[in-house]
Each structure stands twice: as structure tokens, then as C-alpha cells.
Assembly symmetry: C2
């Protein structure tokens, strides 16, 4: 019984290796290549731990935040990465990702299916302070990558500051001081020509 359960869990571990093949639009900070989802996920989980003091809710459950962050992109193994400013891609994003979540979390033992699926849904719904703070990390991260690569992906997709501001609004909501930081960074990015006004 326990052996079967372990085999099922190990199959899940094997399956999610696919996250390392999902390429994002962001480039590594030195601009050498595009980042993949596993790398991105590691990075935002560290950010979640590092920046917690700035969270507006100082009682948030940080373990839950990190768990959410570590698994929230698994759906992209099937659904692919939808670029944040791809209007067309967003039309069926939810349907594609929900189907992916059902398949991928469905590989887990039943009790874990429920727990992990619920965590993913909580992240997607973005209502709890944990989900908001997690989303803040997920949104802040590509801004840093874009800024430090002098806007490689922003320029390639002709992104303007207004849409990025909407996208990062949750940062100010979940962590006001970080919201101020990112607002200043976006202003500088426009001045430097990384991002359209």
C-alpha cells in the first residue's frame, strides 16, 4: 500500500520534470537565453521568503505561499506559457489551464490531489492574503528580469508601461513598499527606453 503510494508520488515527480522545458518570454538576467518555468519558480519562491517583511499581512502563512508558488506553474506543462500581454492567448487560458490542472494534479494520491488543486485554485482566484502576496512575487519577478536585461522581452513585444502597471497592481496591494519600488523601477525603465511610455 505504502509502496504503491510512493510509486505514484515518484511518477508525479517524474512528470513535472516537464516544467524545465516550458520557456518563458523573460531572459536570464545576463540576457544569454530565455528562462524556463522551473527556474522562474525557484526564484520567486526565494523572493517569497526574502521579502516577507514587506507583506501587508504580517500573519500570512509563508509555508502556504511557498507551496503555492512552487506548484502554480505546473499547468503550463500542458497549457504552455501565455505571455502576460498576449490578449488572444488569454481568451482560452483558463480552460487550457484548468484541464491541465485536472490532469497533472490528478496524478497524485487522492488526498494530495485535493490539497494541491485547492492551493492552485486559491492562487488563481487571488483573494486571500497568501494568494495576493504570492502573485506579487510572480509579477515582480519578470519586471526585474526585463529591467536588468534592458527590456529585451518588453522591446520585442512593444510593451508599454500602462499595461505593466496594471499587471503589477497586486504588488502594491500585497506589499506597499515593494509597490513603490516597482513603480520607481518602471519610471526608470521608460526613461531609459526599455519600455514604451
Amino acid at each position: 500500500m505504502e509502496t504503491e503510494r510512493i510509486k505514484q508520488q515518484i511518477e508525479f515527480i517524474r512528470e513535472i520534470d516537464g516544467l524545465k522545458h516550458v520557456l518563458r518570454q523573460s531572459y536570464l538576467m545576463n540576457g544569454s537565453r530565455r528562462e524556463n518555468d522551473a527556474e522562474h519558480t525557484w526564484h520567486i519562491a526565494v523572493m517569497g521568503l526574502l521579502l516577507k517583511e514587506h507583506a501587508i499581512d504580517q500573519n500570512l502563512n509563508l509555508k502556504k505561499v511557498v507551496h503555492m508558488l512552487l506548484i502554480h506553474d505546473l499547468v503550463e506543462i500542458d497549457a504552455g506559457d501565455t505571455f502576460a500581454y498576449d490578449v488572444k492567448g488569454y481568451e482560452d487560458k483558463w480552460d487550457r489551464e484548468l484541464a491541465a490542472a485536472k490532469r497533472i494534479y490528478g496524478l497524485l494520491p487522492v488526498d494530495q490531489q485535493t490539497e494541491w488543486m485547492d492551493l492552485w485554485l486559491e492562487f488563481e482566484e487571488g483573494q486571500t492574503t497568501e494568494a495576493k502576496y504570492a502573485a506579487a512575487m510572480d509579477r515582480l519577478h519578470p519586471v526585474l528580469h526585463n529591467f536588468y536585461t534592458e527590456g529585451i522581452a518588453w522591446k520585442a513585444h512593444k510593451v508599454s508601461v500602462g499595461v505593466v502597471k496594471m499587471r503589477v497592481a497586486v504588488v502594491a496591494e500585497a506589499a506597499p513598499a515593494l509597490g513603490q519600488f516597482v513603480a520607481d523601477l518602471l519610471e526608470e525603465a521608460v526613461e531609459k527606453g526599455y519600455l514604451l511610455p
Copy 2:
């Protein structure tokens, strides 16, 4: 004051992007390329969450485990990945990694330097149940990658089962059922010729 602190934390986030450039000996599960440390770290953090029920200490602090796992390889940004079975590389591994830890964690605000450095040292010393369970994830992971790639890295380095068994001893200590699983997997690996007897 807060602004300066955030800038220092963001510089740390920027610096640790280097983990994505540290290549390991293990190959991705589909054998297409070598894995990097950021991908490995993401994967073992998920394993830590997924496999917790098998830990011999059911009261272990899982948030601490995940924090340890997420940051334990940062030293390799400077010190490089030392292959587990590279006897010569191990001679000065500790000196290289300690110097790296001092530089990298030293980039953090002072209070976080202490906390993160202590977590890294706890992992390296391997005495607490959290450190042992974290090490178990770190050791189990490359065995899975090797097994599912039919032993690419094991074959390349002519690794024999005895040294792998010593390396994974902590798995049985921290999580007996997983220890049995990995023992069975190693037996099968030898039978299939992935690993030398």
C-alpha cells in the same frame, strides 16, 4: 531606510540568478540536456512538500526544510557543482563553499545574513531532522534523474552501486519507506546495466 533595504534585497535576487548557469552532472528526465542548479532546487523543494508523510520525524518544520532546500546550493554560484563522486573535488569543497557562502549571504541585510547562513550551516552539518530530511530529498533526486535517463551520468563517470548506496544512506535514516524505495531502484538499475555492480 526601507528603500535602501529593498534595494539590497533586490540586488541579492539579481545576484542569485547565477544559479541558473550552474550545470550539474544529471540530465533532464528526457535526457535532452544537463540540469542546472535552479531547476534541481525547484524540484527538490516540491519533493520536500510532496513526500513529507514519509519523514521519520512527523513534527519537522517543513517551512524550514523548504527554505534550506531553496538556498542550499547558492554557494555553487561561486564554488561550482562538485560531482558527488569526485574524490579530488571534495578535498577543498568545504573551503570553497564556505568562502562562497560568506560572499553570497553577505549581500543580504545583516539580520538576514545571519538567518540564511545559519540555515545553510544547519543543512551542511546534517544533524537536525530538518537537515536530514532535506538532504534525503537532495540525494534521492539525482538517483531518479539517473534511473529515468538509463544512467547517462552514472555510465559517463563509471559509478558503482556501492558509492551511490553510501551517498543515499541519509534517505533511509530520514524516511525509511523512501529508503526502501531507493534501495529497490538501485537494485533494478544494476540489473538493467545503468549502474556498475
